[in-house]
Subunit: 249 residues, 2 copies
DNA sequence: AAATTCTATTTGTAATACAAATCATGTTAA
DNA sequence: TTAACATGATTTGTATTACAAATAGAATTT
C-alpha cells in the first residue's frame, strides 16, 4: 500500500488530525484564495486530486462538497466537465449569509427586537450614502419594486419578495459592495416579521404608503425625511410584531 | 433492487434534478430549521439515513459534509457518536462570514476603500448603542484587548489579533447579537489593511493612542468624541493604505 | 455536407470492506 | 467490594471498485 506514506504528506502540512476531507478542503481553498487556481479555471479531475493527495476519490469528493457548499466550486459532468472555481457573486454570498441569519432567528438565537434595533442603528448612514450616490438606474429599480408591491393582485409571498427587493434596491443605491453584502443580511433577517404583518390587507397599504414617501424623499435627496420614514416603518413593524406575539401568548 | 423506487421518492419531493447529495442536504437542512431535529440532538446514523432516503452511504455523507461546511452539524465517532445538530455560534458563523468577505477582498471584488467607507457608515450608531449599553464586563474586555496591544514585545500577528479583539469587544458592548454578527464581518474584512500598517513600529503607537482615547470616551459615555476618534482611526488607516498602494505602484 | 451514432472522459452513485475512535460492559485482580 | 483493565459493540472515517449518467467531440453513415 502506498497511501500510507502519502497520507503523511497531507498531514505534515497541517500538522495534525482533522478529517482528511477537511484537510483537503482547506488546502484546496487556500490554493484557490492564493490564486493558484484562478476563477473559472478547471481544477484537476477528482481522480487526479485523489492521486496527488494520496487519498481515495470519495474523500476528495467530500472535500469538494464542502467547497461547493461555500459556493467556491461548481461541478460539471462530461469530457469538458470537472470542478470549476466559481466567481463568488454577491447574490449567492448574501444568500448564504441570510441563510445563516434566518437560521439564527429560527432557532431563537436572535430576537426580532434585536434585529429591528440593529436595522435602526445601521440604516441611518446608509441612507445618507444612498441619497448622495443614487443614480437614475438605482431609482428606477426602487420604483420597479414599489410598483410590483402596489399590484393588489399579487400573493403574500410575492409582496414580501417585492418588499425585500425594495429595500435591497435602496441599499444598492449606496453603490458600496460591502454595505450591500452586510445589509442584505439584515434585510433578509427581517422577512419573518414582514411575513407576519402582510397577511392583513390594511397592512399592505400602510407599508406601501411609507415606501412611496421614502422614494419621493430619495428623489429629492432629503435624507433626513427619508430616515424619519424608515424609522416609522420600523416602529410600525415592531408594533405589529408585538401585537402578534401578545395575541399568540 | 429497491433503491430505484426510493430514488423516485426523493425526487418527487424536490421535483427534479439536482445531485442527490444536494437534495438530501436540503431536506435535512429544512428538517433542522423546521425544528424536526433540535439543537444538540443526534440525527439518525448514516446507515439509517441512507436506508431512509434510499441512497448509498457515501451520498448521505456528501450531504452531511455540505451541512458541516455550513456549521449545521458536527460528527462524533464512537457508540455515543453520530451527527449532531450544532448550536450555531456567533464565533463560527462570523468566521465563515469573514472568510467570505476576505475571499471577496482577495479576489478584488471588494475594494479597501469600499470597506472603510462601509465601516465609517456603520459605526456611528453602533457607537451610540455601545455608549449606552456598555457594562463593566464589556469595558473590562475592551481594556484587556488594549493591554495586550500595548505590550511592545508581541508579534505583528498578535498585535492584529488584539486589534480585532478590541474592535469586537467594542461592538459587543452594544449588546446586540445582530449587530455583532454583521459588524464582525466588516471588522475582519479590514484585517488586511491593519496587517499592512502595523509593520512599522510608529504606526502601532498611533493606533494604540487612538484606542486608548476611545476607551476613555466610552467610559465617560461621550459617544460624540468616540465617533470622532473612530473617524480619525479610519482616516489614518485609509491614508496609510493609500501610501502603501502608491508606493507599490 | 449534414445528421446521427459512437466513444471517451468526467462526475454521480452504489456497494462493500476495513480502520479508528470511543463508550459500555464485563472481567479480573487487589 | 472496588478499581483497573480488557473486550466488544457501535458509529463515523477512509479506501476500493464498479457502474451509471451526462456530454462533447470524433467518426460514420446517409
Amino acid at each position: 500500500m502506498h497511501h500510507q506514506t502519502r497520507n503523511i504528506t497531507v498531514q505534515e502540512n497541517t500538522i495534525v488530525k482533522a478529517s482528511i476531507s477537511k484537510q483537503i478542503a482547506e488546502q484546496l481553498r487556500a490554493a484557490i484564495v492564493a490564486g493558484q487556481f484562478k476563477i473559472g479555471q478547471r481544477l484537476p479531475t477528482e481522480d487526479e486530486l485523489a492521486q496527488r493527495y494520496g487519498v481515495s476519490r470519495p474523500s476528495v469528493r467530500e472535500a469538494l462538497k464542502r467547497l461547493a457548499a461555500q459556493n467556491l466550486v461548481r461541478a460539471k459532468r462530461g469530457p469538458t466537465g470537472g470542478n470549476f472555481v466559481v466567481q463568488p457573486s454577491y447574490a449567492e454570498l448574501a444568500e448564504s449569509l441570510s441563510g445563516a441569519a434566518t437560521l439564527l432567528v429560527g432557532m431563537g438565537a436572535l430576537g426580532i427586537e434585536e434585529i429591528i434595533e440593529a436595522r435602526r442603528a445601521l440604516q441611518g448612514s446608509c441612507i445618507d450614502l444612498a441619497a448622495n450616490n443614487a443614480s437614475a438606474t438605482h431609482i428606477q429599480n426602487i420604483e420597479a419594486a414599489l410598483n410590483r408591491q402596489q399590484d393588489p393582485g399579487i400573493s403574500d409571498e410575492a409582496f414580501c419578495q417585492a418588499d425585500v427587493a425594495f429595500h435591497r434596491a435602496l441599499v444598492d443605491a449606496t453603490d458600496n459592495g460591502m454595505l450591500r453584502f452586510v445589509m442584505y443580511t439584515v434585510i433578509e433577517a427581517l422577512i419573518p416579521v414582514t411575513n407576519m404583518v402582510v397577511t392583513v390587507v390594511r397592512e399592505r397599504s400602510d407599508i406601501i404608503s411609507l415606501h412611496r414617501q421614502m422614494l419621493e424623499h430619495l428623489k429629492q435627496g432629503d435624507s433626513d425625511a427619508l430616515k424619519k420614514r424608515m424609522d416609522e416603518l420600523l416602529d410600525y413593524l415592531l408594533q405589529k410584531f408585538e401585537q402578534a406575539s401578545a395575541c399568540r401568548a
